[in-house]
């Protein structure tokens, strides 16, 4: 039965991902005094794309068509590492946060290759910029996760969740505050949101992710869009699991799982509003300011790790 819940968690993350995008877009529209599209719009987009024809540039090799598939597959598998409703996940070992980070890296590596396989200038440009951002995001990401793991005395995400559930909310430590700040900044960079990248732009001066996927169309594009939605959801779920897991079910009963589901919805809603507010109030950074942005995240993450030794 627990295995069924763990599997349900994964499918939930994958299925609900486009909705979260839709919700963020809707809140953004409201903040900007627009009516905005329906929150179900991303599903309609995916449906439309999945029924379109797949167009491939003449120079492209197998990698071009394989990249979206690999990206989707590894992102979906990465979702199996994050506890959502209860303090366990379908797959998990000690040190699985490292595996989670590198699975996302595997998907990104293939997407960069797919972009360069298109043979136009945009793909290379997007891949080059993505390489810069992701390279500099890797260290703060792992350091931030590591500091939380050290504080919880366990290296598995489920273990960290279990430990945090046993703690008192009021006794949240400086380590967690620093790590959350660092990981929130990294999450913005990793998922390609403002101020690092703009998911809605199509202007060559500013785009990173969009430039990479410019040559994709039809079902391939649908897979990429869905995968990037899943990635956003996984990152949000990870932040929730590490820093605010309260409400998750520790025992199995219909009641506790329903409570966990509602708690999750509330927490995701808070994060979505936060993202929408940031995206509506901050301008996108120049690309060469992104290293400074991630430098701040790195400094915070290093401080968090140092504090783990000091605060014992």
């Amino acid at each position: 039965m627990t295995a069924a819940i763990d599997l349900f968690q994964v499918l939930l993350l994958i299925a609900v991902a486009p909705l979260i995008r839709g919700v963020i877009a809707r809140i953004k529209a409201r903040i900007q005094n627009r009516h905005g599209a329906s929150v179900w719009r991303p599903y309609a987009d995916l449906w439309k794309l999945l029924h379109k024809e797949d167009l491939v540039p003449p120079s492209a090799s197998t990698v071009f068509r394989l990249a979206p598939i690999v990206l989707f597959a590894v992102t979906a598998v990465a979702a199996a590492f994050v506890p959502v409703l209860r303090d366990s996940a379908l797959l998990g070992v000690t040190g699985d946060f490292i595996l989670l980070v590198y699975l996302l890296a595997l998907g990104r590596f293939f997407l960069m290759l797919g972009a360069m396989d298109g043979g136009s200038a945009f793909g290379g440009m997007g891949a080059s910029r993505e390489a810069l951002v992701s390279t500099l995001a890797e260290a703060p990401l792992l350091l931030g996760l590591l500091s939380v793991a050290i504080a919880a005395h366990t290296a598995s995400i489920a273990g960290i969740v279990h430990w945090t559930l046993g703690q008192d909310f009021s006794r949240v430590s400086a380590i967690h505050a620093l790590a959350f700040a660092a990981l929130a900044l990294v999450a913005i960079a990793e998922t390609g949101r403002i101020p690092v990248d703009n998911p809605t732009t199509h202007l060559e001066l500013t785009m990173i992710h969009e430039a990479m996927v410019l040559e994709y169309s039809g079902p391939s594009l649908a897979l990429i869009e869905w995968a990037s939605a899943i990635k956003l959801t996984v990152v949000l779920a990870l932040l929730i699991a590490l820093f605010a897991p309260w409400g998750m079910a520790t025992t199995f009963s219909v009641l506790s799982v329903s409570i966990a589901l509602f708690a999750l919805l509330a927490k995701v809603a808070v994060l979505a509003v936060g993202i929408a507010v940031i995206e509506s109030s901050v301008a996108k950074l120049r690309m060469y300011l992104v290293p400074d942005f991630l430098g701040v995240a790195t400094a915070l993450a290093i401080l968090a790790v140092v504090f783990t030794a000091v605060m014992r």
């Binding site: 024809e53 797949d54 167009l55 491939v56 540039p57 003449p58 120079s59 090799s61 197998t62 990698v63 068509r65 394989l66 598939i69 989707f72 597959a73 590894v74 979906a76 598998v77 797959l91 070992v93 000690t94 040190g95 490292i98 595996l99 590198y102 890296a105 595997l106 990104r108 590596f109 960069m112 290759l113 972009a115 360069m116 043979g119 136009s120 200038a121 793909g123 290379g124 080059s128 390489a131 810069l132 992701s134 390279t135 500099l136 995001a137 260290a139 990401l141 350091l143 590591l146 500091s147 050290i150 005395h153 290296a155 040559e215 079902p219 897979l223 060469y288 993450a301 790790v305 140092v306």
Partner: protein
């Protein structure tokens, strides 16, 4: 007559078949010893002036296996590669030197006396230098070989000194008595030994700043030889260092660990940064060897820190991480260098700016090269990830040490390793994207062709090994933990070390399952021209090049590169209407400029001064002799 001629043409089959066969036998013996755990010993002292004994324990068997497996792949590759690229005497020389080179490396890892070890150590340098000379000896190449030999011998001198320091304390210079005497060594002697071994083996391994020979020597050898030099020869230095620091000396104070960690961090980050700026495929790969040696040293360093802090189990885990990365690097780096050989065979250039679109023309080579790229970047389901994961686990465990400086330093190394991983991903996305994907950038790349079957088999052996270790690492982790237990004198590897082996197969099943499902579901795609913003079509020159791809990273890390740039606009008084604009950018690595150059200049100037002693006057020489004799007598009287 034609029969003789055709036999003569095929004559290389015999030595290459013998080489492959003997390497296979070696691999089987090593595998039996590595998995089965039995030892072998052979005393050849009657052949040599000093005691000359060969022994295979589990650690030796591990390195022997590495040499033989990569050797088999390289030999298979060479049978066809050498025939296609070399002829006459040069071909013969390669077939003579290649087995000798392999044999010298086997000698190094099986020797159990100092003499046998050093004998193999020196032969290894000489045979590899010989193999570089076979490829030509222009002025520039001779300079590179000279730098190589010079640094190797300087390193060897340090290794010899480290061995000789055992003399007053050990019964003999065989490994067993050196190991036994380690407990009685004075602290100062131990420290001196460690530093000498660190410098001596570090020179061979190519740690920064002792790496300057590596990007000079590796790229100019024939590709199979580059594969052996980078994939295998560097590993003998790791073997020597592990023997010395862990097996003989049994670890030491914390600063040993910090020294090795610092060398690892510096080599890792600088190696990959230098690689990003390169677009000569083989030089780029050589810099990546510096990077990966850095990762191995990060593991070795944390093992030393754990030993100093009395955490033998975690020390064993960190050492296991370092050894596994040694094996992994041997597999994927050899594959990459063989792949570079295949590229130069198929497209006749190694400048990636001239390549492009090779995957369509060299399907198997391209696929195998992609496997190697994913492995070296350390992505899951490929072997590089497993060893990097173990290294990360070691850093994480460091947080539990009671010593505060250790419990801060080790976890922070996570950031360094993550940065190295990110930079490596950027670099190999560049390499693969520019060389194998997109449109061909030159006529040569347009007409590239797949290489012959023996070369493909050689590469496939390594590619399969990379994937197998990446998906089911348990098969190597178990015997390796036994080998580490032997080196660490009984310390058992923690159970967490193998937890990754349980989950990786499931990740593989999940990911491959989804990929297969989606591949089965996808429909036929329509090939159509890319929209070129309304202009008449795209051409290959509009693609991102290697240089443009790496520009943002080079700009962010500009402090590392410090290029000397100059733009010349002619005529100078008309900046807006120039007749010609020329741009020049020269990159010299700071180490050559600021570390080696002053040293070389100092030696040269001292030598110039000393030349005055040599007057050519016989009476003056007699005076020198007389003074030397007097000094000796005085010294003997008072000493």
């Amino acid at each position: 007559m034609t029969l003789v001629a055709s036999l003569w043409k095929k004559a290389h089959i015999i030595p290459s078949a013998l080489l492959v066969l003997s390497l296979l036998v070696g691999a089987v013996v090593a595998a039996l010893s590595f998995w089965g755990g039995f030892g072998l010993s052979l005393d050849l002292s009657y052949l040599a002036p000093f005691s000359f004994t060969l022994t295979v324990d589990r650690l030796s068997a591990f390195f022997l296996l590495l040499i033989c497996v990569v050797g088999v792949a390289t030999a298979l590759f060479s049978t066809s590669y050498i025939e296609r690229h070399y002829e006459g005497m040069r071909r013969n020389w390669i077939w003579i030197l290649l087995p000798l080179f392999l044999l010298s490396m086997v000698l190094v890892v099986t020797a159990s006396t100092a003499f046998a070890f050093l004998f193999g150590w020196e032969l290894m340098t000489l045979f590899s230098a010989g193999l570089i000379v076979v490829d030509g000896d222009s002025e520039k190449r001779r300079h590179n070989i000279y730098v190589y030999l010079l640094m190797m011998h300087a390193g060897a001198a340090a290794v010899v000194a480290a061995f000789l320091l055992f003399l007053p304390h050990a019964e003999g210079l065989d490994f067993a008595s050196m190991r036994a005497s380690a407990g009685n060594l004075p602290v100062g002697v131990r420290a001196a030994m460690f530093v000498l071994a660190f410098i001596g083996f570090g020179t061979k391994a190519g740690i920064v700043p002792l790496h300057v020979w590596l990007p000079k020597a590796h790229p100019i050898a024939p590709s199979p030889v580059s594969a052996l030099m980078s994939g295998v020869m560097l590993k003998t230095a790791i073997y020597g260092f592990v023997r010395f620091a862990f097996d003989f000396l049994g670890g030491g104070p914390s600063w040993w660990g910090y020294l090795v960690l610092a060398a690892g961090a510096l080599s890792g980050v600088l190696g990959v940064l230098y690689a990003i700026a390169e677009h000569d495929l083989k030089r780029l790969l050589a810099y990546h060897s510096v990077e990966n040696i850095g990762i191995i040293y990060l593991g070795l360093g944390s093992a030393l820190v754990f030993t100093a802090n009395h955490a033998p189990a975690w020390a064993a885990l960190a050492l296991m991480a370092a050894l596994l990365h040694t094996l992994n690097h041997a597999l994927f780096k050899s594959l990459l260098f063989l792949g570079a050989g295949a590229v130069s065979d198929g497209a006749h250039t190694l400048d990636i700016e001239e390549l492009g679109g090779l995957l369509k023309r060299m399907r198997t080579t391209g696929t195998l090269f992609l496997i190697a790229c994913c492995s070296i970047v350390g992505l899951p389901l490929f072997n590089g990830f497993v060893s990097e994961w173990l290294t990360f686990r070691g850093f994480l465990a460091g947080a539990a040490l009671s010593n505060v400086s250790a419990s801060i330093t080790l976890p922070l190394m996570t950031g360094v390793l993550a940065l190295i991983g990110g930079l490596a991903a950027a670099c190999f996305a560049k390499v693969y994207g520019v060389a194998f994907l997109g449109r061909p950038r030159s006529a040569e790349a347009e007409q590239a062709h797949e290489v012959p079957i023996p070369m493909l088999i050689g590469m496939a052996v390594l590619g399969v090994a990379c994937v197998v270790i990446g998906v089911v690492p348990g098969i190597v982790l178990r015997p390796l933990s036994a080998a580490v237990t032997g080196v660490m004198h009984g310390a058992v590897v923690p159970a967490e070390a193998t937890s990754i082996a349980r989950v990786l197969p499931w990740v593989a099943v999940g990911a491959v399952g989804i990929v297969l499902l989606l591949v089965a579901m996808r429909r036929v795609a329509r090939v159509t021209a890319t929209w070129a913003c309304g202009m008449p079509g795209l051409d290959a020159r509009m693609q991102y090049t290697s240089t443009s791809f790496s520009k943002p990273l080079r700009r962010v890390f500009a402090q590392v590169y410090r290029p000397d740039r100059s733009i010349e606009v002619l005529p100078a008084d008309q900046p807006y209407f120039p007749n010609s604009v020329s741009y020049r950018s020269v990159r010299t690595t700071s180490f050559e400029k600021y570390l080696y150059r002053p040293g070389v200049d100092a030696i040269v100037s001292v030598s110039h001064r000393l030349r005055r002693l040599q007057t050519g006057n016989i009476q003056v020489y007699l005076l020198y002799m007389f003074l030397a004799l007097v000094a000796l007598l005085v010294f003997m009287r008072f000493a």
